[in-house]
Symmetry: C2
Subunit: 426 residues, 2 copies
């Protein structure tokens, strides 16, 4: 067994000792290198020396997505800009969030993602095809590099129609398909309606970006004749490889060598009772460029109790049961309502009444933004209104890497359908 | 001077000897490993032993994009599938084209792209931001890896609005921007109309995927206060790094250590007189997975005569002056009319009369497909017609990684504007 894998089987005492060392060095680094964290800690009267026990973590303040925005562009970097070898950007609540990677970070993430793949049964014999929307670009990079680390052949997500994707899958005898649960269901539906037989070579579906109900999972496994494995990640920290299923498939094992996890009440910020649903909070332990202390992921889940029959001693969480903040997950991409409002404001000069409508059209999630017609939207012509709508659609797609149709609707109709909600997910 | 660089200064005799050795080994490999090439050569009565001189190359038959399609998926691979570590797909004339890379190919391409960057003045101190459409995904990968090879920090093209791209450019003090000439002009126009000052940190624009007129180039250099360098590539072989400008900026130096270049009359296939415009034909010399013998690029250009004042002895070609085949370059992405017709047929069941209209809207190329209304397009409702058009738009964007609006127009109007043409580029 390689060291990489052994680590997942540490004893409770082993973990405690190692976590404490990693936490101490992390806190020490951020305190001395990130003025934001130093200030937060000073305000609470906490110094790195106070971290004598893992429970001291609870004294530290939370980091939120709003903090990431406020400290844009690089006030949260714990290394000089010259040590950053890659920078990714993705939409935050109101402005872009930036994530930097040192060479060491890229290596760590490659290893984590490779562990997720290996644990899922992927080997150097595999042909791994990645089908993900451009909005998941950070994950796409990580998955591609993780699969390369395993030694597999990789088919990255080039622009392709669904017909061509299936064709490529069959012609190149893809053995592992990496996609979201909703895209996998859409693929299956498409094949069934077109009378296309599932690719015989396929043996594993790696499902990332979203959870999936047991019935739908079973349907995928039976129809494709494959095993499915789920991966969980937080773009601000790391993509799949942060949490992954073992052969028992009882929740996500967390990569405890890279993160400490807590689950808190989203309202009070207090730790929830064991096994209760709350918001996942993570502290990175080995991240060089962008360490995060008690980062509120916004993801609702619960810890799974008791040891896992697989023997891994890492903590496990349930699937993600929802979002604590104003976000919605569409095809694995997190869309925050406040960013949608920012785009609406840029388009119309104000935020009109709206409804984000997520339809499931043949199992493919399609996004519509309903905007109530009002006199402020007034344009001299219908054509003008359409052009403005097109402008919004372009901005939305450029921002989230997802298409969204803007529909102008009567206010009464919007009110009737929305009934006070901002998001409807079919 | 590193070996990598020394190679660009070989003597004429040195090149001839080396080229012959590389050509012989390439022909030998494809003859024994690629049945398609063996058959072609057998038909012409040529054996690898006949390649005793560089001029023997002219006896070999051409390879076209149609051959790449016919030999899809992997009949042109010169290595077993297990040695392929990455597979990219992109649209060919009628069906997808697939390109495989061995680990060695990835290393070669990384070196070629790094040489393009170094020759253009990029160093490990640089922050390289890549702004390219998803349709250029193969090039994006190559450019990212080439910049990493140089040791620069890389900002890959995450989905982002133009405002955010400029913001990131300024906030992270981007020094090198990699984009297409048309996107650079669009950026400039956008900044000027919005009253945004160009990023002061920017010192080099690397322009790829298209050529640019001298006046527009000068405009970019003056407004941004930068140097511009152009790179040329052929997706079927390798992206920029195949041809790049030196400090003299007099045409593209070809990477003669990786390719042999000829220029032929697109009609007759005969070599053109020195300095005459014709179609560029390339033969790869160091490619392992997908070697190409006399591949007709479809790109019209001419050889530049005489030695380059920079001292490099590699052959030079002019900018690309047009396309010999039914393709058009839009934002650096080659769109083939026959593939557009394939999509139209899938959408409407037949190919209606159409016109591909490339507009320049504020310097950003926007694509419209005009379709003549006829009774065969009949749908029970206007809504139905729109839904079918949306279906086409989605398929187009998925295929080419470029948005395209479908407009239904009266046949008379289309005829009047098109006057027999299938493409209009403003």
């Amino acid at each position: 067994m390689e060291l990489e894998q052994k680590v997942e089987y540490l004893s409770e005492e082993g973990w405690r000792q190692w976590h404490l060392e990693l936490l101490q060095s992390t806190i020490n680094r951020v305190y001395h290198r990130v003025p934001f964290y130093r200030k937060l800690m000073d305000e609470q009267g906490i110094s790195p020396e106070d971290i004598t026990d893992l429970s001291a973590l609870k004294k530290l303040p939370f980091t939120t997505r709003e903090h990431l925005e406020e400290n844009y562009p690089y006030d949260l970097f714990a290394v000089p800009l010259k040590d950053i070898v890659r920078l990714h950007t993705f939409p935050g609540p109101r402005t872009p969030i930036v994530k930097g990677f040192t060479r060491r970070d890229l290596t760590s993430i490659r290893r984590l993602t490779a562990r997720f793949m290996r644990t899922s049964g992927v080997s150097s014999e595999d042909i791994v095809q990645i089908c993900l929307d451009p909005g998941m670009s950070v994950w796409i990079e990580e998955l591609k590099e993780g699969a390369e680390e395993v030694g597999a052949s990789v088919i990255p997500p080039d622009p392709q129609s669904v017909t061509n994707r299936i064709r490529i899958m069959k012609d190149f005898r893809t053995t592992v398909l990496v996609t979201t649960p909703s895209y996998a269901l859409y693929l299956l539906h498409f094949m069934q309606t077109q009378g296309i037989r599932p690719p015989e070579s396929l043996r594993i579906l790696l499902l990332v970006g979203e959870g999936i109900a047991s019935a739908e999972r079973l349907k995928l496994e039976q129809a494709f004749g494959v095993t499915t494995r789920l991966g969980y990640g937080v773009t601000e920290a790391v993509g799949p490889g942060m949490g992954y299923e073992c052969e028992e498939r009882k929740g996500y094992h967390l990569a405890a060598d890279y993160f400490l996890a807590e689950i808190v009440d989203p309202e009070t910020g207090q730790e929830v009772a064991p096994g209760t649903v709350g918001e996942l909070v993570i502290t990175t332990l080995a991240v060089k460029a962008n360490p995060l202390i008690r980062f509120r992921t916004g993801d609702l889940c619960r810890f799974l109790e008791g040891p896992c029959p697989c023997g891994r001693t890492t903590p496990r969480i349930s699937q993600i049961l929802g979002q604590a903040d104003g976000r919605v997950s569409i095809r694995g991409i997190k869309v925050s309502l406040s960013y949608v409002e920012t785009l609406l404001k840029e388009t119309y000069g104000h935020v009109p009444e709206y409804l984000l409508y997520v339809r499931r059209h043949n199992f493919l999630e399609e996004l519509e933004l309903w905007v109530a017609i009002n006199e402020k939207l007034f344009e001299p012509s219908i054509l003008g209104l359409h052009q403005v709508a097109e402008k919004f659609e372009r901005a939305f797609e450029e921002t989230f890497g997802l298409p969204c149709r803007l529909k102008l609707v009567e206010k009464d109709h919007l009110d009737q359908v929305a009934r006070g909600r901002k998001i409807i997910k079919e």
